[in-house]
């Protein structure tokens, strides 16, 4: 096995954080530094107190050695999250718009740059609430699943990854049942003996579960 079983079912949490770390974030450098050429492009120059945009992983590295302050993204500010939560909570509301890696980014910022966040406790709580509302909404969505497609806009990467096994398997199961239903339908039309086709359906079910 070139990758683990867990990895064939989706992404692991560290992998998602790896992806999220490529997102850009604004920092205020605390030390002077020249431009740095990275594989993906140049960052800097760092001239305190001028803000500059860097990938999140650079921001975290600098933060850990106390060489920058991270500017919290707007969506992660307390007031914004509170409004989002209110909207999210409305009955029949769609999923609100959040960055695709919002959970990973929020988790990393709360871990490494808590002192740069205003009302970090409140933010933590709101994120938790937001997540729970969205989770229960996703589960509602499972009811609407059919064997063709289901649109689920604004779900984040972590949320999708979380529901992937359940939704994926349910979807595949529905698909198989659909195929089976169609097959029996045509058969029933052809044969006068409905009982016989039921027996065949049982066979088909049996063989699918045996292995």
């Amino acid at each position: 096995m070139a990758i683990t079983t867990r990895q064939t079912e989706g992404f692991t949490m560290p992998e998602l954080e790896y992806l999220a770390q490529n997102e850009s974030i604004t920092i205020v450098p605390l030390h002077r530094m020249d431009r740095i050429e990275l594989v993906r492009g140049a960052i800097g120059p760092f001239r305190p107190p001028q803000k500059t945009v860097v990938p999140l992983w650079v921001a975290i590295m600098l933060k850990r050695t106390n060489r920058c302050r991270i500017v919290a993204p707007k969506w992660m500010q307390y007031e914004h999250l509170r409004d989002l939560y209110k909207r999210e909570e409305q009955p029949d509301a769609m999923f609100t718009r959040l960055p695709i890696y919002y959970l990973e980014i929020a988790h990393m910022l709360l871990t490494f740059a808590e002192d740069d966040l205003v009302e970090s406790q409140g933010i933590r709580r709101l994120l938790q609430d937001l997540r729970e509302v969205r989770q229960s909404k996703t589960m509602e969505g499972l009811r609407m699943l059919n064997s063709l497609q289901l649109q689920m806009d604004n779900l984040s990467m972590a949320e999708i990854n979380e529901i992937r096994p359940l939704f994926g398997h349910s979807f595949d199961m529905l698909r198989q049942l659909d195929g089976l239903a169609q097959a029996t339908e045509t058969e029933q039309q052809q044969s006068q003996f409905a009982d016989q086709s039921y027996a065949e359906m049982d066979d088909a079910f049996g063989s699918r579960y045996v292995h």
Partner: protein, 273 residues
């Protein structure tokens, strides 16, 4: 979310986290693959360094203001994608798709050239800067490794099918093709030795198609469920001939059958997530 420990570990030991147990076995194999050993004497002129990081397409400031320009979301994604972002997307696609996808050989070669160039530069820098450069390079290496390993696991799963079909054979790199052939051989020898040779002669066959016309080679399930996100507005799209079309706009997310969006994925109109 208890990843904090492992995560800080990763930062401390520069990606120590990613060198999990499984890595060691495959290191040797991957080392041998062409993409990893690029000739060291890369002239600095041939190395492309991309545009400034800050001016990336839509995700400046983490896409906070998306709501504000919801309307002009249609004409984006025309900006040329850098190699790293491209490989990142290919990696995610590869991980989520049931079949093996086109090999990103040129991209990997470019990236490995850059990695070599950056590694040479590292030696002359002061510690703090060198650390950032090393982390950057390690992140690229990790991505390349994980990408190749994902493909290997898929090749192992359907090796026979992939070397049989021309379409798939063309998607594999030279090394991957050899790997697939070797894998099939090994598997066949193992199966024969462990039990097939003890069966009555008429049950020993390993043909691709039996005399009764039964196909024996397992295929990837192209109808498997996938999650996809629309990258460039597609417009009305018919998921099934009998159903009403659905408008696919940028950033819409769907769960659907892989076979339905297969062509859109090839055109880069959607990405798997």
């Amino acid at each position: 979310m208890d990843t904090q420990d492992s995560f800080s570990g990763a930062l401390d030991s520069n990606l120590g986290l990613y060198d999990d147990a499984a890595t060691s076995n495959f290191e040797a194999r991957l080392e041998a693959s062409d993409s990893m050993d690029v000739e060291p004497e890369v002239a600095s002129t041939s190395v492309r360094i991309h545009a400034t990081f800050g001016v990336e397409d839509e995700d400046v400031e983490l896409g906070i203001d998306k709501e504000a320009h919801e309307d002009d979301e249609d004409d984006e994604e025309d900006v040329a994608e850098d190699d790293l972002s491209l490989l990142m997307r290919s990696w995610v696609n590869e991980r989520s798709s049931p079949e093996i996808l086109e090999y990103e050989g040129a991209t990997i070669e470019n990236l490995m050239e850059l990695v070599d160039f950056q590694t040479q530069k590292m030696a002359t820098q002061q510690a703090a800067l060198a650390n950032i450069l090393r982390m950057d390079v390690d992140r690229v290496k990790y991505l390349v490794r994980s990408y190749l390993r994902t493909r290997l696991s898929k090749i192992e799963e359907h090796a026979r099918h992939y070397i049989k079909e021309t379409m798939y054979r063309e998607r594999l790199s030279q090394n991957e093709l050899e790997y697939a052939k070797g894998y099939v051989e090994l598997e066949e020898r193992h199966v024969r030795r462990s039990f097939l040779d003890q069966l009555p002669p008429h049950l020993r066959g390993l043909e691709d198609v039996t005399a009764e016309g039964l196909e024996m080679v397992p295929k990837p399930d192209l109808d498997a469920a996938v999650f996809c996100r629309v990258r460039a507005t597609v417009g009305e799209f018919q998921f099934e001939p009998s159903e009403a079309p659905i408008v696919m706009r940028r950033n819409n997310i769907f769960i659907t059958r892989y076979s339905i969006i297969r062509n859109l994925l090839e055109d880069g109109k959607v990405e798997l997530i």
